[in-house]
Amino acid sequence: MVEVKGVRKSFGGAEVLKGVDLRVEPGDVVAVLGPSGSGKTTLLRCMNFLERAQAGLLVFDGKEYDLQKAGKKEIAAIRQKTAFVFQNYNLFLNKTALQNVTEGLVVARKVPKAQAEEAGRRALDKVGLSDRYDYYPSQLSGGQQQRVAIARALALGPEILYFDEPTSALDPELTGEVLAVMRQLAEEGMTMLVVTHEMGFARNVSNRVVFMEDGAVVEEAPSKEFFERPKSQRTRDFLRLIAQE
């Protein structure tokens, strides 16, 4: 369904992505693992044009897009089918939880307000925030904010959800409540591409793992295989280090 080929990106002189290929099938939950600075987040941002790659091809629903040269309309078309959950939530600070969810629907998709609010409430109910419709982000905990962000992404009805380290800014308890929502989405068959440091999520929820280092994919395998029979030496080292913690 979504595939990228040969993604290259450098900041200044530093090459962050050195020709990365990645493929996500419908219903897949793909976890992208790897040490900090390996280019996971940059790859995700390039796939949604938050960052312009210097080279690379994006295939979405059979249509090809040039990651470097795609025009405004093409970018809008891609973003219409995707949704993004950020590490720092990036909720609209001047909007309530419900307004955060409805904003994109009303302003970008021209959904009538009443209809958008109904969809917004449904999305917030789904992430367990039925009692927080009218709270501003500053009045919510980190976990609640991230769940609003997930609701905002869900309400757009995307074909694929991108998560950029969604729990990295949260303590273990709040991480738990966000992961529970993500697990539920996975069980419902939502297609997700998740950059994460949560090994538990990668092992138990995702069905495929992509391991990246230094701007390249080191290993790609079904989750079970990745954790039980890693192929490359680098992956084994990585997993051993994690196991020691």
Binding site: N48, L50, L93, N94, T96, A108, R109, Y136, S138, Q139
Partner: protein
């Protein structure tokens, strides 16, 4: 000169014994002050405040526009804004007034005193406020814009609905500061024959020779105006900033008008 002001007679500071024969010195002064109070206040209400309000209105339009084109790096307009700010922040306000009112007629451009004052104050204030708004725009987390993109909104939609409202909340106290400063600076308009508060006061002084008392009185009226503006600032901050409060109780504290009334 005889001043007849019954209600204030009892308040006179003159010794009781002297009151019968000739009028006491301070009684004369009280007379002048009460007599001139409306003569200072009225120009304040009809000149100083309208000049402030109209000029600040245009200044804000200019400021937001100049801040946005700089923030978005719009070619040409950005450079023009920088030039405008460079000139109007870099030269004295008084000189700008002189150039427009006394200088431009040399080129055949004659502007009435009040419009000339509005023009100069708008352009000058706009330059300062543009920097305040630009700084506030840059203080909005960049993730807000990215989040807007990701829910499908365009740059302009996100700027108008998400980034600018947050920036204006940040800029508000500084803008109120500028407004109060400008309200006082309108006294400079007296130099281009706008009969605002200071000029009215000077006219009364020319008749009565009481500069100390009358300047003080004018100062009190300015203080009154700025107090009202400060109050409005508080109300505005509260309205704009509902989303920054951790808790609804913080937004509406207990009403205790007697406490800290000067704030």
């Amino acid at each position: 000169m005889v001043y007849f002001i019954p209600p204030l007679r009892g308040l006179s500071f003159a010794p009781v014994g002297r009151r019968k024969g000739k009028q006491g010195m301070s009684e004369r002064l009280w007379g002048i002050l009460t007599d001139s109070f409306t003569k200072i206040l009225v120009p304040g209400l009809t000149m100083t405040l309208p000049l402030t309000a109209i000029a600040f209105f245009f200044a804000m339009i200019l400021a937001v526009f100049m801040a946005l084109v700089q923030f978005a790096h719009v070619p040409v307009l950005k450079q023009l804004s920088r030039f405008h700010i460079w000139v109007f922040r870099g030269t004295p306000l008084l000189l700008q007034l002189y150039v427009v009112f006394y200088g431009l007629p040399g080129l055949g451009v004659i502007i009435d005193p009040f419009p000339a004052a509005v023009l100069v104050f708008s352009l000058n204030e706009g330059a300062y406020c543009a920097e305040i708004v630009r700084a506030a725009l840059e203080a909005v987390p960049p993730g807000q814009l990215e989040a807007g993109y990701c829910v499908g909104m365009s740059y302009l939609q996100t700027m108008r609905r998400i980034v600018l409202p947050q920036a204006m909340r940040t800029a508000f106290p500084s803008l109120a500061n500028s407004l109060i400063a400008m309200m006082k600076d309108t006294s400079l308009a007296s130099t281009i024959t706008v009969t605002e508060m200071l000029m009215s006061t000077q006219r009364i002084i020319a008749r009565t020779y009481e500069p100390l008392a009358l300047y003080m009185e004018a100062g009190l009226v300015y203080l009154l105006f700025s107090t009202v503006l400060t109050k409005l600032q508080k109300v505005g901050e509260r309205k704009l900033g509902a989303y920054t409060a951790k808790d609804a109780h913080v937004i509406y504290p207990k009403r205790r008008p007697w406490a800290r009334w000067w704030r």
